[in-house]
């Protein structure tokens, strides 16, 4: 996704001289071309994410669209108050880009696990939180956040993510994309878990279970309509994210479902809200967290069993 992001940003910058890029001394091999082509619109501030974000707000308030770029938690949690006060409160055109959301830097240790960012950023007033589901969505999301006035958070993977979409879907911030229709259970996925969701749906299909897959690429504003349709039309909802089960997609969907009083069986799949006891590659970390196609399919089956069990209880006894 990193490649799609920088390619798209470079393309946008050719057409729109408001596009600027500020980095916190990261992006080796990624940002060099942009820096060479647009030296007046590039700045490496050094290892200073708080100043990076404040500076981006100041630059943006002078009429620019300023992207900040770093990895994992550095452009978000490290400078959260600058995001809140300087970017959000001023409605500044700052686009925060974090590469390696989730466990992309799994083996580097817990300091590099970005597993609370969606929850935290989603709570910032005025912030739009976007986590594209594959390489195609990453490109479209880059374009969409550049076009949308005001602060945005773009959480992307690192490299080597699979491509899910065969063609460019219609991409609008705040509007989920149904990747696969289904009637028995809905898997709502955000970020790079989309391929896992699709593969889990394939496994379920082999068992005769029809699973819908929805790419919830925007966490805030959340697409309430897509969630309520999924819940009404399938009767069971599973959320899937490379993020803590606290406050991210699972939290956002739970809020919508609870207030709708739909009462459908619902389960959040993600990482438990604790530091991982053992670290390793992204694949290892996802396996440890039960975020693999077989584990997701198993969770869906469990949800449907609950659905079946709950069924009779929910009918009013006669007499």
């Amino acid at each position: 996704m990193r490649t799609e992001f920088i390619e798209e940003l470079t393309r946008l910058a050719e057409r729109d001289d408001r596009i600027c890029l500020v980095v916190g001394d990261l992006g080796f091999g990624v940002v060099v071309d942009f820096a060479k082509r647009f030296p007046d619109r590039f700045l490496n501030v050094g290892i200073a994410e708080q100043a990076m974000t404040g500076l981006a707000a100041g630059w943006a308030l002078s009429g620019k669209v300023v992207f900040t770029y770093s990895i994992a938690n550095f452009p978000t949690l490290r400078c959260l108050e600058q995001i809140r006060n300087d970017a959000c409160y001023h409605g500044a055109n700052v686009k925060i880009v974090a590469v390696g959301g989730g466990f992309a830097y799994g083996a580097l240790g817990a300091t590099h696990h970005a597993t609370e960012d969606l929850a935290v950023l989603r709570a910032m007033p005025g912030m739009r939180v976007v986590a594209p589901g594959d390489t195609v969505e990453a490109r479209l999301a880059t374009r969409a956040v550049a076009d949308l006035p005001g602060p945005c958070y773009l959480r992307i993977g690192r490299a080597g993510e699979p491509t899910v979409h065969d063609a460019e879907p219609e991409f609008r911030i705040g509007r989920a994309i149904t990747v696969r229709e289904g009637t028995d259970v809905a898997i709502l996925s955000t970020g790079g878990m989309l391929k896992t969701a699709v593969d889990a749906a394939e496994l379920l299909g082999a068992d005769g279970i029809s699973a819908r897959v929805v790419s919830m690429h925007t966490l805030h504003p959340i697409d309430e309509g897509a969630i309520l349709r999924a819940s009404a039309e399938t009767g069971a909802v599973l959320t899937l994210e490379e993020h803590s089960i606290v406050g991210g997609l699972g939290g956002a969907v739970a809020e919508v479902l609870a207030e709708s009083a739909s009462g459908v069986p619902f389960r959040r799949l993600g990482t438990p809200p604790r530091f991982a006891p053992r670290v390793g590659s992204q694949e290892f970390m996802l396996r440890q967290s039960g975020l693999t196609p077989p584990a997701v399919a198993e969770a869906a089956r469990g949800l449907l069993l609950r659905h079946a069990a709950l069924g009779p209880l929910m009918t009013v006894p006669e007499g």
Binding site: Q50, A51, L55, G58, A60
Partner: protein, 278 residues
Amino acid sequence: MPPTEEELAQLAELARRLRLRTMEMIRRARSSHVGSCFSMAELMAALYGGGILRIDPEDPGNPGRDRFILSKGHACAIYYAMLAERGFFPEDWLERFYSDGGELAGHATHKGVPGVEVSTGSLGHGLPIGCGMALAAKRSGMPYRTIVLLGDGECDEGTIWESALIAAQHRLDNLTVIVDFNKIQSLGHVREVLDLGDLAGKWQRFGWETREVDGHDLGQILDAMRSLPFEPGKPSCLVAHTVKGKGVSFMEDRLLWHYRTPAGEEYEAARIELEASA
């Protein structure tokens, strides 16, 4: 051209008026930070009354305007008083300062307040934003200047020194920091809480061309501000040695007046003292 006696007298009178108005606002609001406001009265008078800031109250969003950021946002009362004096908004807004539903919040707030460039209050935010504004001017060839007023306690924040490095690295000579060095911070004297030592020397060694002035001597202040940038190719820093609570004898250099609201006999005594200083 050195300032004339008449100009200095006018600005001294402006500073005195600002102190009186600020104290009245704080008394009515039962708010605090009167000492933090009084230490910067002459700095505000020089910036806004001495022709340093190129701004137009009729056109506060003009892209070519100079940018002023009050990074020590808690001292907003005197800032608001100055902006009202210059006609950015009606004087009666000051009467509702810090009150329920009033236009003017207890820390510098840009929302709906003409003339306030950015909202501050959490310390250490103004200078990074100022760096961005100065960089924007450099990169787009705009001639405006950016001036950021810092508190001394605020210099404890790491973002100040991140920004100090960045501004020097990128030769932002259109950026000026003024430090209101009143020697008292939230829980005590600066030298006891977190000693800044040779503050001017620190800025100088961070690559800023730095000057020190008596922050209550309008002649020195104007002379320094009128020679900005102090050196082409370097950001400028003006360390203003000031006295917290300056202007009222029993408030001067007293930590208490970081917090205390002047009221009753104390208010009257302070008012009489300020009025007598004309």
